[in-house]
Symmetry: C2
Amino acid sequence: MCRVLPLAGGENGKEFCKPSPRMPEPPVLGTSRLQRALDIQPRNPETGDERLTSGLEENSHPTRSRVVIERMAPEIDGGRFPIKRVEGDEVVVTADIFADGHDLLTAVLRYRRQGEAPWREVPMQEVGNDRWCGRFTVGAPGLYEYTLQAWVDHFKSWRRDLAKRIESGQDVSADLLIGAQLVEEGCRRAGGADAMALEAGAGKIRALARAQSDAGDGAAAGSNAAASRAEEARRVLDEEVAPLLGKHPDRRFAAVSKNPLVVSVDRTQARFSAWYEMFPRSAAAEAGRHGTLRDCEERLGYVAGMGFDVLYLPPIHPIGRIHRKGKNNNPVAGPEDVGSPWAVGAAEGGHKTIHPQLGSLEDFRRLLAKCRDYGLEIALDLAYQCAPDHPYVSAHPEWFRHRPDGSVQYAENPPKKYEDIYPFDFDTDAWRELWEELRSVALFWIDEGVRIFRVDNPHTKPFQFWEWLIGGIKAAYPDVLFLAEAFTRPKVMYGLAKLGFTHSYTYFAWRNTKWELTQYFTELAQTPVREFFRPHLWPNTPDILTETLQYGGRPAFMARLVLAATLGANYGIYGPAFELCENRALEPGREEYLDAEKYQLRHRDLSAADSLRDFITRVNICRRQSAALQSDANLRFHNVDNEQLMAFTKATDSLSEVDLVVVNLDSNYTQSGWVQLPLGELGLDEQQPYQAHDLLTDARYLWNGARNFVELNPRVCPAHIFRLRRRVRTERDFDTFL
Amino acid sequence: MCRVLPLAGGENGKEFCKPSPRMPEPPVLGTSRLQRALDIQPRNPETGDERLTSGLEENSHPTRSRVVIERMAPEIDGGRFPIKRVEGDEVVVTADIFADGHDLLTAVLRYRRQGEAPWREVPMQEVGNDRWCGRFTVGAPGLYEYTLQAWVDHFKSWRRDLAKRIESGQDVSADLLIGAQLVEEGCRRAGGADAMALEAGAGKIRALARAQSDAGDGAAAGSNAAASRAEEARRVLDEEVAPLLGKHPDRRFAAVSKNPLVVSVDRTQARFSAWYEMFPRSAAAEAGRHGTLRDCEERLGYVAGMGFDVLYLPPIHPIGRIHRKGKNNNPVAGPEDVGSPWAVGAAEGGHKTIHPQLGSLEDFRRLLAKCRDYGLEIALDLAYQCAPDHPYVSAHPEWFRHRPDGSVQYAENPPKKYEDIYPFDFDTDAWRELWEELRSVALFWIDEGVRIFRVDNPHTKPFQFWEWLIGGIKAAYPDVLFLAEAFTRPKVMYGLAKLGFTHSYTYFAWRNTKWELTQYFTELAQTPVREFFRPHLWPNTPDILTETLQYGGRPAFMARLVLAATLGANYGIYGPAFELCENRALEPGREEYLDAEKYQLRHRDLSAADSLRDFITRVNICRRQSAALQSDANLRFHNVDNEQLMAFTKATDSLSEVDLVVVNLDSNYTQSGWVQLPLGELGLDEQQPYQAHDLLTDARYLWNGARNFVELNPRVCPAHIFRLRRRVRTERDFDTFL
């Protein structure tokens, strides 16, 4: 028979008929005692193998909680990894929470800074279909934990039922007595002043029950007197009892979510940054001279002036001489060749030494201090590999693998050989010493004041090494950021992000069509990936000159810059190659730069007339003016009836700022089309005109309705960055109108 | 610098330069020893709180495995609940498996019957994007476990690299020596005959290395002699070494998936069954007499003849007299009123007693035996609740909740009261005795030979009670099936299914439009829900006479029958109300039957001319002839350009059978439209005609291409059940054609 429902109410019901109101604590039974209690003997001694005892150990009754907490979110791999946030962010936690029957539940979200006591607690709300939601705000960088607790709330259930009974005119005298008992149990949990107040409340309820009962069994139900008693009961419950009882709920049988989940909180720069990558050795004012860290100081105004806030330097350490590469990756270097800075280490020193041609440690400290004056931070490169003449190679041969002839194993991707690079053997028997030494490299620079590292090729070192290194360092220095430079398979990139990297290079460079960009950034922004993977977008790097840039000319550089800077709250360029639109490849079909700065000095005219410097400055100003563009959340793509035009919005949670970016992906031709916006979801009024204010050009357009026309000439500017403003002034805004 | 890749190969590389080939076992370090090993002192004694030690405990290096196993599927709530299968089913297991770097991996799927040793093992294959797949077949009912193991395969990586080196004409003498060492390490793992064969192989590889080396450093590379040596190396590796070494992989650093996941395997009837629900007391041949179990025997031919295989009987126990309900749920019963069988228990006995008016336990045994002759199984009703005069009430007042006046608390859904039903208090202090007694009820009937239970309102009893009861019983009796009769919120229904119910009632009765049916059954068949929730479809029950049936007449009964019987491999009807198209409701807007059998005897003419008996028989024959319809997998909906026509296919995995069902949802008018099928995915040839054979009517249609016309007159038959046959005979099939 369906729909025959049992009495609302749960664990305490049995108390109703007992003389002593004091409820004994329930026995806490271990699995084995429970099992003994529940075991029954085999039913058929003939077939002795059919014992009911066999399955009981797994199926014993672990707790007396009736509540189930499931599908908690956000949660990464069952809590194996933390989610990421920055200071001041809100964490919105949801879960399926339900129990058997029809009792009402109460659920709370508990959170704290890891290692701190006590937990703070906020109530959760049911948002439909047994899904509950709560939220809390994280503070200073570090680790936070959150967990859920939920229980059957007998008092809440009783009140709901009481209201229904009163509404249908039933005699509720017995029900009031049940409620009074629930309140009295609350007294005992409360103690102190609350207990006294609750006891008074219980007394009033009992008095009402007596009055109702005295008025006759149901006869008076529905009468005026009964109605006024009901009203009084409601008032006592609402005003005197419920708020106090809510402070002292019966949590003995509360369900608790599994192990606390963790939030890794970074400083704000983890969410929003603009990086400028630059080779210090090319910073000399005169052509042909090896640049120095002192020369870099002169460049800071230029970089900061464009609106960048992180200056990323490729490795600044001594460069190996053995097997040094010449210009354009020539396997034989000439005596003047400067080598690749990623071939770290030489007689002068290794990862903790400044390349003498760049200057001294003192120079580095000066540069760091100067950067601060310009609002710039320095990001250093952690390239955990050695040139053959790195001091580690002779001091610690056990940190490297060896070939059968006794030589050290160089890096390879068969059949290619990279004889100028010795990878570390992370699995060496001396792994503990090696790992610790590698960590000490990062700590050395942290000690000097560096707080950002760009990590070279992390995907070729064990995951556990990074988890250990980053976890340990961030526990002591929560403000340190690590950018993972891994261009590899998706699962590996996500794996590195999960285990602790602050942000990650992406496939952005190779996502060029509307379909590709929409697919990829939808995955990054609208799936659980966004909880752990912070994209860092680079239109170029010293290794990557994409075909789009090679063949698209200045319009392609402009379009890709706007895409990087608006699709990604974190982005960077490799300059001055980027702003000067350098686009000559080593050979057709390759993405390598001709005369790549990796292997030689380069001298450029930064004041070239066609430099994108002013355009980049403008784009970075747009980013600084827009809270919406400073986050990767709330990215949504919109329909344009032209495959060469793409449109997307970013909006703040409150919709106080809605920015619409439209980009012409065609570097050659003017393209036009109709952009379709879901106005309601963007907080815009279908019936009112609204303003599209192009933050790039300061042009203002008056738009109406969901579909509006755009046209972009790539030779002029291939993009709009519109601020959509809800309200446009009309005659009604004049005081004199009415 | 990106794309500088380290040497392929991992843990054993360090062996290459050591004189002793015997590798010591790596120390197994506990977390705390590791932590001591890795700890470093605080760097700034002034700011003593910034200690690097703080984060290390969590971030210590737990294993030396480099492999990550993630997102294993199928997996329910992180392994908290088993997936469901029936005997002979294949379990297809997938997971993301990857490591740092570019080494090749080997992964295996391990499985066993729970509690049995040893594990069996099958290799997994990579299926793209670091996703791996393996499969195994489960046997007899019971619990099975599966887990994954994966490791970096240095030998496989070495062979891949060797092939690339040979292809590019490199001198591989040193590489061959490295390979010989890997083979020799395999010898030591192998022992016995395999070891001797591997040693011989290693010797051959060393000889080839010497020959290559003697031929001169790279000079001979690319020569004929080098090519023949390469060919010989390939042969030795392929034929003599690889198969043997594959038997003895180096698993010391293998990664293992988390706790083994569990499969709950049922007998085949759990996947495919047709139930017939019938009130025994209405089985009398003559009107007005109370039917008996003996009368039921006479009905078996009728039921089995229609093709049903489960006969489900509402509770057959004594019916309470206190507060007994009269006809049409009248709160006052007359002396002749028979009461609701769900008001279990009276002076004659309770849940282990047969209602005397139905007969004796001996009669029940006879009925059970007779059923077997007809290929029918009996399903009994487990209704864990009591009439007020149930013997439990006086013998065990502590199993019930009491009101302040000392009376037992009846069932309620305020403001409604069900005074003829006392629910058990599952949270009573005497819960262990209560739970055990309730289990003994099921065991009593199991002892009598019953193997199927339909469980009444399981959602009003604690989840943990069911998990304990079902888990314990199935451990001893793996062939017992439990059908959950819960019509409640989705999460609760899924929760009950997860914790062990074999199948579950669904919302089918209230899903009537094409959109509703498509949404709901897509959720059930194509999401992870299908791993644990087996839908059991009922167009009607004694409680549910939907408006569709009330107003749609015979065509609606036919359409709903076909939908239930083909959308669900498990389905049932409540008869003879269903086949006789009884559709009079108690009052407009309610789903209650008029003169409901729940409260009174009913006598019907089973031979009525308009009975659906023959139609039902035909539908059940279709089901028995179709392996595709005997499973809920591979359900796919297809487009029809008419909202009143719905079309879906079910196909076997091999596509050996593809059945297309088309139903007219409009009970009043003939509807026609074009059905669009994805022929390629159904194994049909776009270029060839194919046959649509209506299994209901035996009509055969020749169809061409993806779009075909259907027309259904509900007054004749509102459905097609087509078998699609790939090949149609043509002139080319005649021997004389060529």
